[in-house]
Amino acid sequence: MSASVLFDTPGPRTRRRSRIASVIVVVLIAAGLAWVVYTLAQPRDSSGITLPGYFDASRWDIFVLAELWVRIGGGLLATLQAAAVAAAMALVIGVLFAMLRTSVHAAVRIPATIVLEFFRGMPVLLMMLFILLVASTGAFWAVVLALGVYNGAIIGESLRAGLAALPRGQREAGLSLGLTRLQTKTFIEFPQAFRQMLPVIIAQLVVLLKDTSLGYIVGYNELIRTTMNNLGSSVGNRYLFSLFLVTLVIYLAVNLSLSAVARRVARRRSPGKILAKDQITPTASISALGAPTRNPEDRTTE
């Protein structure tokens, strides 16, 4: 905390005051949480029948069944599968879009820009519906194709920004060695832009993973649909809350570990910058260099 320039290193009185404030806040939050847990744990009356509280053993006893976990695992696998295929597709489409958008020929550049803006401005869900109804590919490919195209458009934009940020000398050096424009772009500029933007791209892939959950709406049996719809209806509604909590925990575990990878890559990419600390515990400190924050998640598009 003392690293922050926003306030002085606190003296004894301020420290005491801030400790008191801290304690009050902790007590308030703890009280709020305790209230929520207590309310959930209470048995409730619903049209004459008394239902057990949400933490009652009878709402959690299904989770000892191995078969249930196999089905949840299947749902998770379906989510990861769709995410993996869509991620590969998004990377390819992203490179392609970046190539086309930075072309020297206006005849290539302008249509590419229009198509890109079209894809970026449209909800992914609508794209999934479009593919589902028009191409009738089945839910899996609707999810994968829509996510691939949409995230490809976004990755293409960030690659383009990466290309634009490269020093001009790189391109000039390539051209002066006798490489063609395409060769210069492919072998000199792209590898650098890609490495530069890698943290942003990984963070965007986390967004892609989260968005596979839209499969719930278009009828692809991914994690949420498996746990909430399929399992929910076969084991009964009273397990809905328990199933919801389990699904939430699974998503958080997967996404937080992927985000951690993105941050680690981001930190590795910027050696010698003192900002690394700021990324792990984003505290009050104004970043020491006055540079825009290095947290890759800040530059993604949901």
Partner: protein, 215 residues
């Protein structure tokens, strides 16, 4: 094309719901996000921890799950809200951490010398943040905030999967009813979304360029 013109009132009704969701949850997310961002830079450690846990939890939960919670789990817990309000709550909760992060990165972007100068002039925490840091940070966060709103516009479509009649559910309903004009209907719906997102995108890019020159 005829199917689109015939169903125009239905489209307008759905578009109105999309705009309502965008406006209400946009405004509330801005307010909550500002509070969370303020907590994140405040000198009280427990507020910091609370704000970062809130941000991390909501940012890593899929929107579908958040809306599922509001539409299906909340009624189980005794809420009697109509689905529109459930969607509003879900979208607000989901968008607020993104607002907070945009604000925080704006604050981090203010040159450190500004804060040092304010401090060395004897301004306190409140004075240096409200008079020196925020006015500068605010200009820098406008483009990212607009991008958050663009994302929110697109995210309102997810509410269509949870019993709210907005553009996405209109697309689904009308496409099912007019099997021969599916493409026209879906393109019309896309056009309604683009009417909101593309001008916002242009505005954001324009402001970004304009503010960048002045720095």
């Amino acid at each position: 094309m005829n199917a689109v013109i015939e169903n125009l009132p239905r489209f307008i009704e759905a578009f109105g719901m999309t705009l309502w969701l965008l406006a209400t949850s946009g405004v509330c997310a801005l307010i909550i996000g500002t509070v969370i961002a303020a907590m994140r830079i405040s000198p009280v450690p427990s507020l910091n921890v609370f704000a970062s846990v809130y941000t991390e939890l909501l940012r890593n939960t899929p929107l579908t799950l958040v809306l599922f919670f509001c539409a299906f789990v909340l009624p189980q817990l005794g809420s009697r809200l109509p689905y529109e309000w459930a969607a509003f709550i879900g979208l607000t909760l989901y968008t607020s951490p993104f607002v907070a992060e945009a604000l925080r990165s704006g604050i981090n972007g203010v040159a450190v010398g500004q804060a040092e100068a304010a401090r060395s002039l004897g301004l306190g925490f409140m004075q240096s943040t409200t008079l020196i840091i925020f006015p500068q940070a605010f200009r820098m966060v406008i483009p990212p905030l607009i991008n958050v709103l663009i994302a929110l516009t697109k995210n309102t479509s997810v509410a269509g999967g949870f019993f709210v009649f907005e553009l996405f559910s209109a697309a689904k309903e009308l496409a099912n009813a007019n099997g021969n004009a599916v493409i026209a209907i879906l393109l019309a719906v896309a056009a309604f979304y683009l009417v909101v997102t593309i001008p916002l995108g242009i505005l954001s890019a324009h402001l970004e360029k304009k503010l960048a020159v002045q720095r």
